[in-house]
Symmetry: C2
Subunit: 232 residues, 2 copies
DNA sequence: TTGTCGGCTTGACAAATATCAAGCGCGCCG
DNA sequence: CGGCGCGCTTGATATTTGTCAAGCCGACAA
């Protein structure tokens, strides 16, 4: 793979501390590929041959069962996905598709496992990353089981607002149909949920959201770091 | 802590391969305690001072928000819990309480992190365990988002049947109120869901479940290894 | 044995959510 | 410019799920 990509990958928490020789060794077997939008990168049930790293664009992780499907997460640069399947050498639990034009690194899973065994710092980084992912899913589980759809949307908006810089007005950066799926509801109900938040000062214009009364919305949403703070 | 417990802890996947000196070092700082039923061992938000290992009994992991609460998992011997919080040195995301009289080992988190850094085999075991836990939560997430409550119950019964040996008749080993919470429904609805499975040959007598027509129930439940097989 | 407590069940009702069908708005392309 | 097509919205309706109140039943203790 072209060495020009090395620095941005190297800068990832997962790879930043490891021995240079090991990093080079990982990169030797890796390759970068550009994908158009809406391409299915992997399908659930398939063997986990590669660890994926998103360099640019974005990727939707979703799952299907019995004719239904649901979005579980969105992966944005720069981060990895399906680390757990790679580590356990087990089949993927989720499918992945590009949402937009994306540049993605593929690192053979067996190389990752091999370097893991000889590089303590890399091992430490993998554990830290995996623990972060685990905790993120637990938070999402709590969000789903403890909150109504209106509360989930309210808290999502507050999180997104923070991510966008904290201003009173910001853009949704996902399609509403996907947002609905992520939040565990239908697109129709998402529409109604937005209306349901109007009394708390939320205004919607296309993908632009305006929060009229921050305190009011927070009073309804009751955000909680043990659910909504994805950094811990 | 009394050395009599060493063998059963040592036999745990997490500790079985590590150097003896390191294991001894971990055990030196650890201690075992017996708890009566319904004791809250840890509360969400507290700092993660100890890695816990359940030797006997069982522990309920649950969470609370805004006056509601939900059961997220049950920990049975012999296994650990709150590994991720220990690794990240972050606050617990879930509370834990004993369901019955339980014997539990407490290992100081900082010891676990210290030994992790010097024992590659231990590190490998932690990663494997963490990846297993991660995948278990993803499966649970799919179960929640892709299935109706009736389907969740049907698949739960099939899993429990398998765990109990596979016979047509078996015992539920959780209180129904807790089962309802785990499955994301109210106790009232669980009662109705059991009735809803009667047409598929499910009979309930107290905590005893009988599956009259295995194929019929499986045809309705459509179990899937990517959701229901907790071993991968 | 009898009383009581807690968990489970049931029924009636209310609220939340999904489904279906139609229409709207906007970008894209002929 | 006009007409699709697609995502979003809206309304009507059905289904699912939760809530509240009451009753049942078995475990346990007096």
């Amino acid at each position: 793979m072209p060495e020009s990509h090395y620095p941005e990958i190297r800068a990832l928490g997962l790879f930043s501390g490891m021995a240079d020789a090991h990093f080079q060794s990982l990169m030797r077997g890796a390759y970068v590929q550009n994908f158009p939008p809406q391409i299915e990168l992997i399908g659930e049930g398939e063997p986990s041959d590669f660890l994926h790293v998103v360099l640019s664009g974005s990727v939707d992780l979703f799952s299907t069962w019995n004719g239904r499907d649901t979005s579980l997460a969105t992966v944005r640069p720069i981060s990895t996905f399906i680390l757990a399947a790679t580590i356990r050498n087990a089949p993927y639990l989720m499918s992945a598709r590009t949402l937009e034009k994306s540049r993605i690194v593929l690192i053979p899973s067996q190389d990752v496992r091999a370097i893991f065994d000889v590089d303590g710092i890399f091992a430490r980084a993998i554990v830290t990353e995996l623990a972060r992912c685990y905790r993120a899913v637990i938070k999402s589980q709590k969000d789903l089981k403890l909150r109504t759809s209106l509360e989930r949307l309210a808290n999502y908006l507050l999180r997104q607002q923070k991510r966008a810089g904290g201003g009173a007005s910001f853009e949704l950066d996902v399609e509403k149909r996907r947002l609905a799926s992520v939040l565990g509801m239908t697109p129709e109900n998402l529409s109604r949920a937005f209306k349901g938040l109007q009394p708390y000062g939320v205004a919607v214009d296309g993908t632009r959201i305006s929060i009229g009364d921050q305190a009011d919305l927070e009073g309804f949403a009751r955000p909680n770091p043990l659910i909504d703070d994805f950094s811990t």
